[in-house]
Each structure stands twice: as C-alpha cells, then as structure tokens.
C-alpha cells in the first residue's frame, strides 16, 4: 500500500468522514489542537530560554526539564492525536499542501534536535547544570529549538490559508 492509498483510506474511514462531514467536530478538535500546541511551544520555550541563559537562571537545568517536559509531552501527545484527526478529514489534500509538508519536516528536525540534546549535548550536564550561562552547544540547542517551534506554528497557521477546506 503506497502512501497516497493510505491517505485515501484515511479519508474514506469512518473517522475521517465524521470529522469532515460533521459541522462542529472539526472546530472542536481544532480548538483542542491549538490549545495543546500553544502549551507545547510555550512550555518548551521555558526550557529553551533557560538553555540560552536568558530566564530561570537560578534553577538547575535538569530540575527545570524534569518539571516542564512531562507537561510538554502530555500536550504533544494531545496535539498529535487531534492533528491526526484533522489530517484524516482531508488526508490526500493535506499531503499535497507545502506548508503541511514543511510543518512535518520541521517537527522531525525539532525531534532530532531534542534527541541530539539528550544523547550528546547534555552529557556532562553536571558541570553546567547550575550555571546561569550554559555552554555554547547547549545554547545552540535551545536557540534552534525555539526557532524550529516558531516555524512549526507559522507553517501550521499558513495551512489554513492555502487549503480551501472542503
């Protein structure tokens, strides 16, 4: 089964059909999507700004990530589920939208940036955990993350202006 066939199957599925044809389901799901994505980006910025050495300077990086990231992940899971539901309503058309594709690509890069940070950058974190000015590699990870998430939101908003909904 190729991707387009999968997207067509999603479109024809009872879920895709319900989201597409119900007048109020799409806006309700979209509202939850917007709420969860603002929580993802806002909470991740708290960590990014700390890595950049701009805010929460008196708080150890590892403690801050410990209290913020579980919250970020919960919101992210909610954003992914609601995003999937919205996508299913018009899967084929979304899959041809450049802003949608850019948004997915940026999410992958943001994810890789996070993996690199956890696996490589944060090695030896005990040496700078309490420092108000993290080393360059950590500042880069924070700055990149901030830019990527701003770009994700930007692309997301532009999807709505480049797709004639139904």
């Amino acid at each position: 089964m190729d991707l387009q066939a999968l997207f067509q199957w999603l479109y024809d599925s009872p879920v895709g059909t319900a989201v597409r044809e119900s007048g109020s389901l799409f806006p309700w799901i979209e509202s939850v999507h917007v709420l969860s994505i603002t929580l993802v980006v806002g909470s991740i910025s708290i960590v990014d700004l700390r890595l950049l050495g701009l805010t929460s300077k008196s708080r150890a990086v590892s403690r801050l990530t410990g209290e913020v990231l579980p919250f970020t992940w919960t919101a992210f899971i909610l954003a992914a589920i609601t995003g999937g539901l919205l996508f299913s309503s018009n899967a084929v058309k979304y899959s041809h939208n450049s802003f949608f594709l850019a948004k997915m690509a940026l999410l992958v890069v943001a994810f890789l940036n996070m993996v690199v940070f956890h696996v490589i950058t944060s090695r030896g974190i005990e040496h700078w955990d309490e420092s108000p000015h993290p080393p360059l590699r950590a500042r880069l990870a924070g700055g990149l993350s901030l830019l990527l998430w701003i770009a994700v939101i930007t692309c997301g908003r532009w999807i709505g202006f480049t797709m004639s909904a139904f």
């Binding site: 109020s24 806006p27 979209e30 509202s31 917007v34 709420l35 994505i37 603002t38 929580l39 980006v41 806002g42 909470s43 910025s45 708290i46 805010t55 929460s56 403690r63 209290e67 913020v68 919250f71 701003i150 939101i153 930007t154 908003r157 532009w158 709505g160 202006f161």
Partner: protein
C-alpha cells in the same frame, strides 16, 4: 452609531483596506497572535498547576508566581495590538461575532482573576501558602483561571466558524 454601522465604517478605512488587500498580513499577524497566546497560556498553566500542587512541589508557589505571572501582562499588550490589526482587517467578522464577544468577556474575567492572584504576592510572595484558607482560595482561583484561559483559546478558534450576516 451602532456596532454594525461602526464595523461597516471601519472596513472602509484606508488601514482596513490595506490589511484586506495585502494577503500575507492576516496570516502573519495571526501567527504572532498564536505565539503570544502560547506564552500567556503556558505561563498561566505553570502558575495554576503549581498553586493546585500538580507540579513543582519542591519549590514554593512564590517562585512560580514571580517567574511566570510577570510574562502575562507585556504579552497581553502584544495580543491586544495584533488582535486590533485583525479586528481592523475584518471588523464585521470579529466585532459582530458571538464567539469574539464571548472571548472578550472571558478575557476581562481572566484578567481580573490574574490580577487577584498576583496582587497579594507583591506584598508577600508567600501569600498563597500562609494559611490553609489562602491555599484553598488559591486553588479555587487557579481552577477558575484555567477554565477562563482555555475558554478564551476555544472561543478564539470558533470565531472562524461562526457566520456573521454582513448585510
């Protein structure tokens, strides 16, 4: 002049016509608006969830109120500015829209709730932890605040789905 006439007049002003005719303005301003909402809503969640004892119990509530409540007011100014551009660009679609009107009422209530939460912490940062009574009040205010801000985001998104007769 009633609201409808005002919206009609506003939509014919040069500024409104510019916003209507330059296609990138509204999506760009909406993007800045959403990013600002991300700052406000996340700050609100951090403070409210701490007041409810859901997160960060290893630190006093004062650390949270002082770190995050301060972000809300300057960001609300950005939201007011970007929101105004969106209103000027689409006066009828916003001003006469029940979802928009609901959003504005919720916003006023949310701002009052935030001010009520913040005010006593200027005098005494530990105010919400002083007594059991204060803790309970803080919890009630936190739940109220969460509901109001979530309501604002929902009402904001619904503006796009409420049809306004622009006759």
């Amino acid at each position: 002049m009633n609201l409808h006439a005002f919206a009609e007049w506003l939509s014919q002003t040069p500024l409104s016509l510019t916003i209507q005719n330059v296609s990138w303005i509204i999506p760009t301003v909406q993007t800045i608006h959403i990013l600002s909402i991300a700052i406000v809503i996340s700050s609100v969640f951090m403070v409210d969830l701490r007041l409810l004892g859901v997160i960060g119990r290893s630190q006093p509530t004062a650390a949270y109120t002082s770190r995050f409540l301060t972000w809300i007011w300057p960001t609300l100014v950005v939201l007011a500015l970007t929101g105004s551009i969106l209103i000027i660009g689409e006066p009828s679609r916003s001003l006469e829209n029940p979802a928009f009107q609901t959003k504005m009422v919720l916003l006023i209530l949310a701002m009052i709730t935030t001010a009520v939460l913040q005010r006593p912490t200027f005098k005494d940062p530990a105010y919400w932890e002083l007594t059991t009574g204060h803790k309970i009040s803080a919890g009630v205010l936190a739940v109220l605040s969460l509901c109001l801000w979530v309501g604002i985001v929902f009402a904001g998104r619904w503006i796009a789905y409420m049809n306004v007769d622009s006759a």
